[in-house]
């Protein structure tokens, strides 16, 4: 901020170090059951042989991440021993001594250094139209703040407790490698990422199509359609070797032990319901609400008999399948088809008309959003998978910046129910205000001189979010309904946010199609 020399990067370490220190402030804050999940995994990987890792079930929080993440926990557990050896005992459920808390929190902060490094790489790739002397108006600075100080990551990782920062670090690093045209490194990183957390399969279509189209085919025709003759088997083989070797390292031992089906059944538990305990703001939330509304209307209008309806409890529990009362119930395969259909146009677009790494990035965001909107048992945290990569696009183009503001604000707000303890209420509100204020003012000043970034209707929608927030967080807990209908605010939050997320998805597609039309006209 003290306006150092324009090209110097001296601000970056300061920004990164400051945010790391900031994260350490929340060491004693509330943490969710995910804290115990990861402690249990530390214990499992440390004190049990490999063959027991995916069978151990003393705790209800069994190991359900891919093997590389288990190895990561195994590595951490050797440091953990020096803090408190008791946390590595599988039978000590709910162990949370102060050294354990300190260690686990610090492990998140330290593993986030990878995110810091990835952010640095992404910032280097950002195109600057007019190098500004003012540091606060430089896209690379804004991007660094948007990624490092991201509200969602701060809240989910450092209060709620998870290791997303470091995983997103791998993802962003892989994106940065693609932006730098180092495709093999990018592919390697993504393969590693998939073996750390399989939720990133959501964006795998973007990677697959992009690498196949823009890396394995070395040349395009003049109308940028694929030139089949330029196919390079060597490149495909290289990709294949990379991906297979990573998978062999990760899953190989379990294949040898004959445990692959058990590992896979842990990784893909389809017994869980369509929606998570808190509804993620996606299409199914809207679908559920439609179902409920129809039922209520039907009962009111005497078209339906209440006794005949199946007992539907879609917010009720963590792991149970739900039934819809009127609309057809949704099975996992339906969600899979919907997801594939929703990402298909984006994938087709980068196949037919590749637009370089930035086109790939857009496709990645669309894949993430598509699977968030239509996936099975989606967590609200998964919206970060679209928000973070979109940050890169947002600092480069005006239109993306507008979409980013809508998506980030609604997506982040939908994370509010994650923190429900009164002591953390100020934290989530303050952090949200800080991040939203920054993203709005920074992006507006970055693209100043071209009018407002948002349509008036979008502004009205976002202002409505404030109303929803006040109603759900402050007014509702004071009313008597809090006791009888405690899930109503969650429902309102996810439905209202679902509108914004769906809208951003559509807008992103519109931009993509408009580019398509433009390039056809050329």
């Amino acid at each position: 901020m003290a306006a150092p020399v324009a090209d110097s990067w001296s601000w970056f370490p300061v920004l990164a170090f400051a945010v790391s220190l900031f994260k350490c402030l929340f060491i004693n804050a509330y943490h969710s059951t995910d804290f115990e999940v990861h402690r249990n995994w530390l214990a499992i990987t440390h004190s049990l042989p490999l063959s027991r890792w995916y069978y151990e079930n003393s705790s209800e929080w069994t190991l359900d991440y891919p093997p590389l993440f288990a190895w990561f926990e195994f590595g951490l557990s050797h440091v953990a021993r020096r803090f408190d050896p008791d946390m590595l005992d599988v039978q000590r459920l709910q162990h949370r001594s102060p050294p354990t808390v300190l260690f686990q929190r610090l492990s998140v902060v330290c593993s986030d250094l990878l995110l810091v490094f990835a952010t640095r790489e992404c910032c280097r790739c950002v195109r600057e139209q007019k190098p500004s002397r003012d540091l606060l108006k430089r896209p690379s600075f804004i991007l660094a703040v948007l990624l490092l100080w991201n509200f969602g990551l701060l809240v989910v990782d450092h209060v709620h407790f998870q290791y997303n920062g470091f995983l997103f670090g791998v993802l962003l690093l892989s994106v940065a490698k693609h932006l730098q045209s180092r495709h093999l490194q990018g592919a390697l990183l993504f393969a590693v990422l998939l073996n750390l957390k399989h939720i990133y399969l959501y964006v795998a279509p973007a990677y697959g199509i992009y690498l196949l189209r823009s890396f394995c085919f070395t040349q395009d025709n003049t109308d940028s359609s694929v030139r089949w003759s330029s196919f390079s088997p060597a490149r495909l083989a290289a990709l294949g070797v990379i991906v297979t070797s990573v998978c062999v390292v990760s899953f190989g031992p379990f294949v040898l032990l004959g445990q692959l089906p058990q590992v896979l059944s842990r990784l893909f538990p389809f017994k869980r319901g369509l929606c998570h305990a808190y509804w993620a703001p996606n299409a199914w939330a809207l679908y559920n609400v439609l179902d409920k509304t129809l039922v209520t209307l039907g009962v009111r209008l005497k078209l339906l008999q209440e006794a005949e309806l199946p007992k539907a409890s879609m917010t009720g529990g963590l792991v149970q399948e739900s039934q819809h009362a009127l609309l057809p119930s949704i099975s996992p395969s339906v969600t899979l088809v919907c997801t594939l259909l929703s990402v298909l146009p984006a994938a087709l677009s980068i196949w037919l008309r590749p637009r370089g790494a930035r086109g790939f990035l857009r496709c990645l965001v669309l894949c993430a959003l598509g699977s968030f909107l239509f996936g099975w048992h989606v967590h609200e945290k998964a919206v970060l998978m679209a928000v973070l990569p979109l940050s890169i696009l947002a600092v480069e183009s005006r239109e993306d910046a507008g979409i980013f503001l809508v998506l980030a604000t609604t997506g982040h707000y939908s994370l509010f129910p994650l923190l429900f303890t009164p002591a953390e209420l100020p934290i989530k509100i303050l952090l949200m205000l800080m991040f939203t204020l920054y993203s709005f003012t920074a992006l507006t000043s970055l693209f100043s001189g071209h009018g407002s970034l948002l349509h008036p209707l979008e502004v009205v929608y976002l202002l409505g979010l404030v109303v929803v927030a006040i109603a759900c967080e402050i007014v509702y807990p004071l009313t008597p309904w809090q006791q009888t209908l405690p899930f109503l605010p969650l429902l309102a939050t996810s439905v209202y946010c679902a509108l914004g997320v769906c809208y951003s998805f559509v807008r992103l597609y519109v931009i993509l199609l408009r580019q398509e039309v433009k390039s056809k006209q050329l």
Partner: protein
């Protein structure tokens, strides 16, 4: 980006940091029978809510003064009363007479923390924002940087939100006083300062500069004409403010006397615990408390304090400018801290506030002092279980302030205003004073880190259980003494010219 959004983000960040610190433990958590300052504040709520005003400061069957008896001026008591009324609304158990002693619960902690935050949001933070915007030089970005560092000063955050006290109120009121004086509203300023004085008697550390500045200004305007009018106006404001604050106690002289006796507990000795002032440090060499009688200790400390304050006060009286005023505030509060009677380690906050005012003018020295002042309270933080927030906030402050002010680059002899030293030590060979200062800064920071580490990680020698706290306080004392000398010299050297200041920016 517009300035307003930068300021809002700064304030939001600083508020988040405060709330983050407040998630940690407080003084005396789960330590019966006496608990700590947290229980003291809660007890005051209980006493003020349940007892009539006449009994607040007296030892009665319902008010055991030996158990955290009220020993702050009336405004604190009123504040406790206000909080108690809110507490009563939320949960009557919190302020029930006798039964609520030692009450601890997470909901109550949340309530107490919230009262601190609300007081801070109402008093301290707006004053800091206005000060940085109206009374510090430089571009608007520079002002935002100053504001950020001002609000991130770790000592105050850790004491108010960790240990648990309401220093933000008294310091904030004093800051309002400084602000008003800087803007030329002398009567309002003296009113704000009188309120500060009535909130916490320790604000007396700042009283002399306020008095000298206003007196000097009146004299300069001519004691026969406008100056007299100004003086009378200020005097009336102060008297009226005091009278209003003390109204319930004025009906009976014994009441007022008892309050005064409670506020100035002369019988408690020259110093308590380990505090980084002269007497405690001298105690390592000479056991003062056993050599001198209680009375002579009192006279000795009084004389020393007076001697230490006198130069800067006289200088301010003859040259009542705002710059001199700020320096005199530092010098006076530091002199009081180092030499006066019954000083607590937390009183260093009174010296830190005026040093914060100088962050923009003398960055390196201010940062150095602020860091040392936080460090001097380290044993207290460790006792309260605040190690992690202490380390985190100190590191963050050090990093941000040195970066944002480019403190280490801006440390030429001229910018450090070391010209005075040249005149003092003209016989010395020409040394690069700025370089020496910089190296001293590095060494001192490393030493602080090392001392923190050893205190945490190593057991003290068995025969000297207080070895580390004494080492810390002596080390901090040396810093404070050095700072006192430095700021006195700055005050007596020529004031900064507008021109050179512009150049620096």
């Amino acid at each position: 980006m517009e300035t307003w959004s930068l300021v809002s983000i700064c304030v939001l960040l600083c508020v988040t940091v405060r709330w983050g610190v407040s998630l940690n433990s407080y003084s005396g958590a789960g330590k019966p029978p006496m608990f700590g300052d947290y229980e003291a504040q809660r007890h005051w709520q209980e006493v003020t809510y349940n007892l009539p005003v006449q009994e607040w400061y007296f030892n009665t069957t319902d008010n055991d003064l030996n158990y955290w008896g009220l020993d702050y001026p009336p405004l604190t008591a009123y504040h406790s009363l206000l909080c108690a009324h809110i507490a009563k609304l939320i949960n009557p158990e919190w302020v029930e007479l006798h039964k609520s002693r030692g009450y601890e619960s997470s909901a109550h902690k949340l309530f107490m923390r919230a009262t601190v935050l609300v007081a801070d949001l109402l008093i301290y933070i707006p004053a800091a924002v206005l000060y940085c915007f109206y009374l510090s030089d430089g571009s608007s970005k520079k002002k935002v940087c100053t504001l950020l560092c001002f609000l991130l000063y770790p000592g105050l955050i850790l004491i108010d939100y960790g240990h648990f006290q309401y220093n933000g109120v008294s310091l904030g009121l004093a800051l309002w006083g400084v602000l008003a004086l800087g803007l030329g509203w002398d009567a309002l300023g003296s009113m704000a300062f009188s309120l500060a004085l009535n909130y916490k008697q320790m604000e007396l550390y700042h009283a002399l500069p306020f008095f000298c500045y206003l007196l000097g200004k009146s004299v300069k305007q001519g004691l026969m004409g406008r100056g007299l009018f100004l003086l009378v106006k200020i005097a009336v404001t102060v008297v009226v403010t005091f009278a209003l604050c003390w109204l319930p106690f004025l009906s009976d002289p014994s009441q007022a006397l008892q309050v005064v006796r409670r506020i100035f507990p002369v019988a408690r000795g020259l110093f308590e615990d380990k505090v980084a002032n002269t007497w405690c440090s001298l105690n390592v060499l000479i056991k003062i408390r056993s050599v001198l009688s209680a009375d002579s200790q009192l006279y000795l400390s009084f004389a020393c304090t007076l001697l230490a304050v006198l130069p800067s006060s006289i200088r301010l009286l003859t040259k009542p400018t705002f710059w001199q005023f700020k320096l005199a505030l530092v010098n006076s509060s530091l002199a009081f801290f180092l030499f006066s009677y019954q000083v607590h380690e937390k009183s260093i906050l009174l010296a830190s506030l005026p040093v914060c005012l100088l962050l923009n003018d003398l960055p390196l020295m201010a940062i150095w002092f602020l860091q040392a002042s936080t460090f001097s309270m380290m044993p207290l933080f460790l006792k309260d279980g605040l190690l992690v927030p202490y380390v985190v906030t100190s590191l963050a402050f050090l990093l941000l302030s040195t970066y944002l002010f480019s403190a280490l680059e801006h440390s030429s002899e001229d910018e450090l205003r070391l010209g005075g030293y040249r005149k003092l030590f003209f016989c010395l060979p020409s040394l690069d004073l700025a370089c020496i200062v910089r190296w001293k800064f590095y060494i001192s920071i490393v030493a602080m880190a090392a001392l923190t580490f050893t205190t945490v990680a190593m057991a003290p020698p068995p025969r000297l259980p207080d070895f580390f706290p004494v080492l810390v306080s002596v080390f901090a004392f040396l810093h404070f003494l050095g700072t006192l000398i430095y700021f006195n010299i700055v005050q007596f050297s020529s004031p900064p010219s507008r021109k050179s200041q512009k150049k620096n920016n």
